[in-house]
Symmetry: C2
Subunit: 317 residues, 2 copies
């Protein structure tokens, strides 16, 4: 879609419902609240919905947000590739025909809305939304700018990852012209960890094992370890990058127990190894630097199978 | 100085020595090697010097670098605010009149060179150097671009900190037009830690203490702890940001033993507290979010003095 067509939609209706994805991140919420404030500044009514509520760490986006009472005319999904990602709390919107417009940057987008605007090469959905708002010629408020910056920054790991584009940097440069307190946003998004998360990182790094002269590192998360830690199991998500953060490691492996004798394996590699090829040996797959598979057996058997393949891969690589 | 004047200097001479600062970081080395390759590409001779040698983690900058043999005609210091920062290995250049040109972004620059180009508001010295090179109209090689990107990224914490400017983002966007493999650079610069460092973070987070309902956190590094760890004491630098990385903490304090009954205190605060005002109570000082002081007494006395002031500050704040 042309940006002007999307802006015409923002003009044409009066009462908007904006849907964000479950387990919300900075991009979906940055889009949700950024668009909500933009529409309200146009004199429209708009609300942001999320199946799981709004996490406290994004509080700076919704500190003064109040839901408005109105009968919705137009439903917009932001940063949502698949209606399943709306979550149970927004199940009614998963039915066909419920979403009028989808704005997203996932190439895998299911095109589930009546109108779909997908830019698969955009670093973040918030970057698309920013470009749409620019096209409108309307003033963007500081708070909207802050929400959009947060979306771009969080989806690129603060401009660190492969998916960072020149366009993402240029948008950040332009958004810094607003009063967005980006350093504080970035501190909250990237430097602050919960006590539970810190405890867990402490546990797993303390138990990290090294193999092949430190070229391979491994953390093992058994059900017992998770339970004994007394920490919210959700805090154990996203640990897969930890083993590869050690200097000299080429392949970092996270072994997470699913059930008795069933282990989920996450593999991360530097540019010296192919994680996807490694996981294909165990009927898994993924990306060249991040892949996964499932292996059955006792923990010792699983570790031995993995290390045998690591040894071969290191010899070949 | 005008950029054109600096480019005339790059034209006028044939044999350049480039000085970088001791305990080198990504900015000084990014400038050093970036400028060296730029000059060599112009058909000049150029070498990069450092008092401490070039750390392995910056190896991607100098993998194919070979020192050239020549009698130097012109000496350039990059990212060096004070000749003291040249270090003992480059002591001969600390004498007056030894440095012909200094290119730097520290407002505190001592203007020690014959010609000084200082832009105190630049995020990184590498950003200044990039702008100089752009003015020349000459082609910048991929490797030069990669060195300059590294300088800008490292000095801004990957575009995370307060000192990140729109200009830094725009330069990054432009440098991404070269083949710089920025994601891999960023991984090496920001995600990879030595095993010693990981061990230490594990030790200090495991011993982190929380006070006032988690609003204050404290780590204590005694000489004994450092010695018993068996880890290179240099790995203990830069831990001051760790206590503030915990959710809910407003003031993070690092207590490091200097001598018997002498402790160096590093204080980091969120925007809810003033670190500088806090440290002034102990005749220290610094910036609003990062400050320091020294307190004498037994460890228990030092901690109690600190906590009394934290309590007052929390009550007032």
């Amino acid at each position: 879609m042309e940006y002007s067509e999307i802006n015409r939609i923002f003009e044409e209706h009066d009462k908007y419902t904006i849907l964000t994805h479950k387990s919300p991140d900075g991009d979906t919420l940055g889009c949700g609240f950024g668009l909500c404030y933009f529409l309200r500044d146009m004199g429209k009514q708009a609300n942001v919905l999320n199946s799981d509520g709004f996490p406290e760490r994004y509080g700076f986006m919704y500190a003064d947000y109040e839901p408005q009472e109105f009968e919705s005319e137009y439903v917009i999904a932001v940063d949502i590739a698949d209606p399943q990602l709306l979550g149970g709390g927004l199940a009614q919107y998963q039915q066909e025909g419920m979403v009028d417009l989808s704005i997203d940057h996932h190439i895998s987008n299911k095109l589930f809305a009546a109108k779909n605007h997908v830019e698969g090469d955009a670093s973040a959905a918030a970057l698309i939304l920013y470009n749409i708002m620019k096209e409108s010629g309307r003033r963007i408020s500081d708070l909207t700018a802050k929400c959009l910056y947060t979306g771009i920054a969080t989806d690129t790991g603060c401009f660190k990852y492969e998916n960072t584009t020149p366009q993402a940097h240029i948008a950040a440069a332009e958004l810094m012209a607003y009063n967005i307190d980006y350093a504080n946003v970035n501190r909250k998004m990237f430097d602050v960890k919960s006590r539970g998360r810190i405890e867990i990182e402490q546990i797993v790094t303390g138990r990290m094992e090294y193999f092949f002269g430190g070229q391979c590192s491994m953390i093992v998360l058994t059900k017992k370890l998770v339970e004994d830690s007394g920490v919210d199991p959700a805090e154990f998500d996203g640990l897969a990058s930890v083993p590869l953060s050690v200097e000299g490691v080429k392949i970092g492996i996270t072994v997470k127990q699913r059930h008795e004798n069933v282990y989920k394996i996450s593999v991360r590699t530097t540019d010296e190894m192919d994680a996807s090829a490694f996981c294909r040996r165990f009927d898994g797959g993924g990306h060249i630097r991040a892949a996964g598979c499932e292996i059955h057996g006792t923990l010792e058997e699983v570790k031995q199978k993995l290390l045998e393949e690591v040894e071969k891969a290191l010899e070949n690589g």
